[in-house]
Symmetry: none
């Protein structure tokens, strides 16, 4: 499938496509590969690809046109309601928070795994 992180596959694909869009690898107006093609690319089932595209659609990053394809939205035609322009900073802050929390979580979960021999079952994927 995709990878073996805790993150579900359809989000991984959505992340990847989102990164490509933001990185300019997929320019506004250009179509994404078809769902079947994406399914092959990511070695995923059609369903997860459709889910991933659905996520990007609800995020407004892409626009699906039935019969034609899924196109990258022109970000300039609908500028986000910048709540003061600090959205970039906010994103950075949130990212940092995620990193921090992830690290703490990993550490604490490890502690828990090693210190507790009384809990049955608990395992990883």
């Amino acid at each position: 499938m995709v990878k073996n992180t805790g993150r579900p596959g359809y989000l991984q694909i959505a992340d990847d496509l989102r990164a490509q869009i933001r990185g300019g690898s997929l320019a506004p107006g250009t179509p994404l590969p078809s769902t079947t093609r994406l399914a092959e690319q990511y070695d995923a089932s059609l369903s997860v690809v459709k889910l991933a595209v659905g996520v990007l659609r609800t995020e407004g990053l892409v626009i699906g046109q039935q019969g034609k394809g899924v196109f990258v939205r022109d970000t300039t035609e609908q500028p986000p309601p910048a709540g003061g322009g600090d959205t970039a900073g906010e994103v950075a802050e949130l990212r940092a928070a995620v990193q921090d929390l992830s690290a703490r979580l990993a550490k604490v979960e490890e502690q828990l795994a090693t210190s507790t021999t009384r809990r049955p079952g608990r395992s990883s994927r």
Copy 2:
């Protein structure tokens, strides 16, 4: 099965839940009915309900906690219109990630703290 408008069912349900949340009918912190219950309420299949909840999740309006339920996010600190698309979606997603990680961290830290001292059964109810 919802109505006969052109709008797909899963979006109708998402709209309705979103309206209830914004209207205060579903206060922050309160759980949504379970998916099976929602499916009965709207006379829809489980799949469309799950899709609807998924939409609200990616919008950051609700947070699903496995095993417990889907809870309304604190909307006062979170009024972004979903149409924003660009960074709004990413911010929402990051916020959701932070909340999720925080929840997991809190849970796991509590486990760690209690497991070193005593063995609790249940905590709150």
